[in-house]
């Protein structure tokens, strides 16, 4: 299924929103970590894995998912959260460890949860797969609508969990989609150096599931490929592996200079936001003016969200003692 003009505009708007958010986070991240870089310092501490370049992987897939469906994200979750429609204010606040954040500061950038969006994260590589497949299993057992999708990088396919969960997804014919964002780098190790085959989507054959590789980081192509995977999942044909060629524009985490990435590879990296904007304009889907309006609209919403985070209070230190157990005290 091809996206409509309205869907294409919406996808553009989503990647802009995600990019604007990551740009503001990047700016804030480094603003108060100088002159000596210290992860523990600043309004946004800790590691930040930005989604710069990988936005279409979320924007192109999420339009097929409803609030009945479940999503598990990974250590690089901003584009997934934003394209899923999570509230920017609560997202910004969580990154700042504020009381108004999605998890009231307990989670942080790698652990964003929103029950209403059926959205959760795991910072451990490939370990979002099990819970997603488990939701798919639960939905199937209860004969409920709703499929489950996990997002991860290409290096995660070398984790044991990938093999175990994909095999079970095949054995139980689960309504589950494993989306692999192939940015070619697992921190500093290239796909070629870490992975015995060129495309992880080919591993689908080992599990009796459907596999597809999208060769361009393009919202439209991703949208179409995802529609095939979702149709299969919703019609009882089982699981899929959807791998997407994408680009990691800002390194593994902020502060990573990407010295290990060959110059020619850096030069060849395409900026999906610019590419998609140009494509939509050249195809007459979007005017320059509309594109500008989208950018300024998203920018102002992101600015407001960042301000909301900055203005929000920190949690009480004693809040750390809440919510270790649901029913057991101690």
């Amino acid at each position: 299924m091809k996206p409509t003009a309205a869907q294409r505009k919406a996808m553009y708007s989503d990647i802009v929103r995600s990019r604007e958010f990551d740009d503001r986070v990047l700016e804030l991240y480094f603003a108060d970590k100088m002159p000596v870089f210290d992860l523990a310092k600043g309004v946004i501490p800790g590691e930040i894995h930005s989604s710069h370049g990988q936005e279409p992987c979320a924007a192109g897939t999420m339009p097929h998912l409803t609030l009945e469906d479940t999503i598990t994200s990974n250590h690089r979750p901003h584009h997934h959260a934003i394209c899923r429609g999570l509230d920017l204010n609560k997202l910004a606040a969580e990154l700042m460890g504020k009381k108004t954040g999605y998890c009231a500061g307990k989670g942080g950038h790698m652990h964003i949860y929103s029950v209403e969006h059926k959205f959760s994260c795991s910072g451990i590589i490939a370990e979002g797969m099990g819970p997603a497949a488990g939701v798919a299993l639960a939905n199937k057992m209860r004969e409920q609508d709703g499929i489950a999708v996990s997002y991860m990088g290409e290096a995660a396919a070398n984790q044991g969990a990938f093999h175990e969960v994909m095999n079970m997804a095949g054995v139980y014919t689960l309504p589950y989609i494993c989306i692999i964002e192939d940015n070619n780098w697992g921190v500093s190790v290239s796909k070629k150096a870490s992975t015995a085959i060129e495309r992880n989507s080919e591993r689908a054959a080992s599990y009796g599931v459907y596999g597809e590789y999208v060769e361009d980081n393009d919202c439209d192509l991703i949208f179409e490929a995802m529609s095939r995977c979702v149709d299969r999942a919703r019609s009882g044909q089982g699981a899929s592996i959807l791998e997407i060629q994408t680009y990691r524009l800002k390194g593994h985490m902020h502060g990573d200079q990407m010295a290990y990435v060959p110059e020619e590879e850096v030069a060849a990296m395409k900026d999906c936001v610019i590419e998609y904007r140009n494509k939509l304009i050249s195809e007459g889907v979007l005017t320059e003016k509309e594109a500008e309006e989208i950018v300024s609209q998203q920018k102002s919403e992101v600015d407001a969200a960042i301000q909301f985070g900055l203005d929000s209070p920190y949690p009480d230190p004693e809040d750390a003692f809440q919510n270790t157990y649901a029913g057991v005290s101690k």
Binding site: T70, T72, Y102, C103, A104, K106, G107, H111, Y113, S114, V115, S120, S122, I124, E127, M129, G130, P131, A132, A133, G134, V135, A136, L137, A138, N139, M141, R142, A148, G160, A161, H163, E164, V165, N167, M168, V171, Q322, N323, T324, Y325, A326, G327, V328, S329, K330
Partner: protein, 339 residues
């Protein structure tokens, strides 16, 4: 209605699973060898036939995979019971246990519940070697976010299983294999069998059972070591007229520190028996919970009887040497009491 029934730990726990599955469609079991085989240690005996392969779900040998799946199913509102035959296997799925099941509730600030039970077979004493005989209690209890249940008898096994399945928390249900009372491990330990009511009942987490009252010495044991304490206490009573109080915490997380403290306050002496490796474990934790509250309640140094930090040897005489047996407990008690 019916006459009194004396059950084994495995039968009693299974009865609770059966009742919950009959009464709550969200409860299901998954794990290794549960459907046709009934669980390696009898935990699912006959349930496959009763509930079918969709609710007693056999899994591949993929522990990190199926514990991850169970976590997701629990997040989606099901109440999975996961069977992991040997606790020794947590090495291949520790991430799913500690980083997924035990953390989602806290990290989500209470948005996401994981109402799941993980059943594990623990312990040695039957010459099964170092990778199939461990207790690993401390490795489970150390991490926040999971309840750890350790029944020593059939009555507690049933009540704690009802509580575990109905709990909105992630519960690790650690069953000692020799306490289970399954056929392949010989005659069940007599004191592990109990009269078990037909009807369902729950036992609250964090409430210890005073197995027997006494005045001279407090012994704290879990699961299999409760029975070693009972045997040791009988000998100390008959041979030396020593009155032993035995505390079975029943759940190590949460731990009923009050019951332990109150007992030691009365007897002045504390011996803790545990099958796990001694250092950094349950024995030290129990002693700390008394000492940090009021060291003056102790009239002599507390004693630990545990695995002396050794890998578990296969050969019978060597394995018996490292287990916290009644013999070792009697010997250490006599030293404590100056006998």
């Amino acid at each position: 209605m019916s006459s009194e029934r004396t059950l084994t730990v495995a039968r009693a726990g299974r009865e609770a699973v059966m009742w919950e599955m009959q009464n709550d469609p969200s409860v299901f079991m998954l794990g290794e060898d549960v459907f046709a085989f009934g669980g390696v240690f009898g935990t699912a005996d006959g349930l496959g036939e009763m509930f079918g392969p969709d609710r007693i779900l056999d899994t591949p040998i993929s522990e990190t995979g199926f514990i991850g799946l169970a976590t997701g199913a629990a997040m989606a509102g099901m109440r999975p019971i996961v069977e992991l035959a040997f606790v020794d296997f947590i090495g291949v799925c520790y991430n799913a246990i500690v980083n997924l099941a035990a953390k989602h509730y806290y990290l989500s600030n209470g948005q996401v519940k994981v109402p799941m039970v993980l059943m594990l077979g623990s312990g040695g004493g039957y010459n099964n070697g170092a990778q199939h005989s461990q207790s690993l209690l401390a490795s489970l209890a150390h991490m926040p976010g999971s309840v750890v249940v350790t029944p020593s008898n059939a009555y507690d096994a049933k009540g704690l299983m009802h509580s575990a399945i109905r709990s909105d928390d992630f519960v690790i249900y650690s069953g000692q294999k020799k306490v289970a009372g399954v056929g392949m491990l010989g005659t069940p330990i007599k004191t592990s069998m109990s009269v078990v009511p037909d009807e369902p009942y729950t036992i609250p987490f964090g409430v210890a059972n005073i197995v027997q009252e006494g005045t001279d010495l407090t012994m704290v044991g879990v699961s299999w070591t409760v029975h070693q304490c009972i045997e040791a206490a009988e000998r100390l009573q008959s041979e030396h007229n020593i009155s032993v109080e035995i505390i079975d915490p029943r759940t190590v997380v949460p731990l009923d520190r009050d019951a332990i403290f109150d007992s030691v306050k009365k007897t002045g002496k504390l011996l803790v028996a545990d099958e796990d490796y001694q250092s950094f474990g349950f024995t030290g934790e129990v002693i700390a919970s008394v000492v940090e509250r009021d060291p003056s309640v102790l009239s002599c140094a507390p004693v630990r009887v545990a695995n002396p930090d050794l890998n578990i040897p296969y050969s019978r005489p060597m394995e018996l040497r490292v287990l916290p047996t009644a013999d070792r407990i009697v010997e250490e008690s006599k030293k404590m009491l100056g006998l």
